[in-house]
Symmetry: C2
Subunit: 299 residues, 2 copies
């Protein structure tokens, strides 16, 4: 099934209506827009002429048949193919050093042979999805630029082809939407953009019945991690650890203190992004310590 990208949302809303319908177990090809809805790809276009209401369009929502409140939606990302050019910017007053970003700079960046060409450098691309999420709890609504426990703008560079996301289903059908791919981004996304680009994403959707998650969970080849957001980086890091330690505790039958020691020795506190309305972090649990299967078992 191909989802063309004609229908997008600008907020993950509990009451949003489905734009597409997919079966559980089905494979989808989803066209996604860059975070500027392709408005910055013209020479001479600038942020002052861009309607920020049109930022971070997410293709969807996709109603997944069989996904009910209280289930988990499993999203396997099989492939991310990016366009042949994207854009990266400094936007006045935005970014981690916002007060030092007073003038706009925009680089339109061609991609050739898997490399981004910018500033005299050739950087191998690592395509990832910036915005991906599901409908939140009753009464809640989050702009697509904001990450929270429904997913959203988590801007986590580990969300690549070959990884799997698990979301708590808060509305029947889950109502998945995605966009804001980056051809390249560093942890922190300190300048406020990655290499923003259109993409074609191949996904497989499955439903895990009667399991709950407080935050989205990501499985990579090496590790499993909650994607936890907070009001600032310290808050996000504390919450991330508070939610990660119980997985070690339950998964390995440890006390709180034992889980704390194990985390101190073996888990890395990692920053996903420092620049969105909420800050996102992760503490990957190596599979050599605890398997994803075991983590899913104890949820």
């Amino acid at each position: 099934m191909i989802i063309d990208g004609e229908k997008v949302i600008f907020s993950f809303d509990a009451a949003m209506e489905a734009a597409y319908v997919a079966e559980a177990g089905s494979a989808l090809t989803v066209k996604t827009h860059d975070c500027f809805y392709q408005h910055m790809l013209e020479e001479g276009s600038c942020i002052s002429t861009f309607e920020m209401d049109s930022a971070n369009p997410a293709t969807g929502p996709i109603y997944v048949e069989g996904a009910e409140v209280g289930d988990i939606l499993k999203v396997s990302i099989e492939d991310i193919e990016v366009a042949d050019r994207g854009v990266a910017m400094v936007i006045p007053g935005a970014g981690f050093l916002a007060d030092q970003n007073v003038e706009e700079t925009k680089l339109i960046i061609p991609i050739e042979d898997g490399k981004a060409h910018l500033l005299g450098l050739e950087l191998p691309i690592r395509p990832m999805i910036g915005v991906i999420g599901v409908a939140p709890e009753e009464g809640d609504s989050y702009p697509t630029n904001t990450p929270w426990n429904h997913g959203g703008n988590m801007d986590t560079k580990d969300i690549t082809a070959g990884t799997t996301l698990y979301f708590p289903v808060r509305q029947d059908g889950a109502l998945l939407a995605l966009g804001d791919a980056h051809a390249l981004m560093g942890d922190g996304e300190v300048g406020v953009t990655g290499l923003e680009i259109q993409a074609t994403v191949k996904l497989k959707l499955d439903v895990i019945k009667d399991k709950d998650l407080a935050w989205p969970l990501l499985e990579t080849e090496e590790a499993t991690m909650l994607l936890v957001s907070g009001d600032d980086v310290e808050d996000a890091l504390r919450k991330g650890l508070e939610h990660t330690l119980p997985l070690l505790q339950k998964g390995l039958d440890l006390s709180w203190n034992e889980a704390t020691i194990l985390a101190s020795l073996s888990l890395d506190a990692k920053i996903s992004q420092l620049v969105d309305p909420k800050i996102t972090v992760r503490y990957p649990i190596p599979k050599s310590i605890l398997s994803t299967e075991r983590i899913l078992e104890i949820l």
Copy 2:
């Protein structure tokens, strides 16, 4: 030259006196103590009977002949051999979730065949140095548990065998001291200890004349990074970025905004530790983007 570890300091003080003397260009073997001065290695020993004045002993200071104020001391870490057992703890009221750490837990952890044995797991060790630094500027003094621009308790897991540290020389002879090795530690050191252990460290010392550094610089196989500390994690991350961007600017002849975009796409904001009196971070610059030689050239 073998430095036996009999002489230690508990603060990096501008006025501290040399305990050992080494020539520039010389190779040293330095015995280091664990952060508890080996007091926790007995069954039954506990933190309440430990004098915290004896925490984080650093072997030294080592006066390096030829190192003068305004030079850089280059410390090549050739080998870190750790003892056959170490200790990891939860200490009441300490750690990143200090308010949830109310009872003491201590694990004495044997190391066999390169693996740490704890909690039913076998974890491959990755020996690193927690405390390493030089005398600070005139009038300054920092307890060895504190990281700052002289180095100190930077608790950075990348400080391993095969890496090289560069310190600003603020007192003649530099006055190097080191200790607090960890057989294993994750980024963040969230529990407040790593796998604390005695070690034998092989170093080579060199002097680079007439170069300055605001913060210690670390070269690994893949990257070069400033080790920057701040009052809290947000402050450390901001300062770290503010000091890293000029390296990209000068090294690659970029504007501030161009350096910001490059950092946003290609540099990871990484946390070294979240639990010492100051917080330490790093933004590794991949050598594929900018060489260490070029960075040293532009200092």
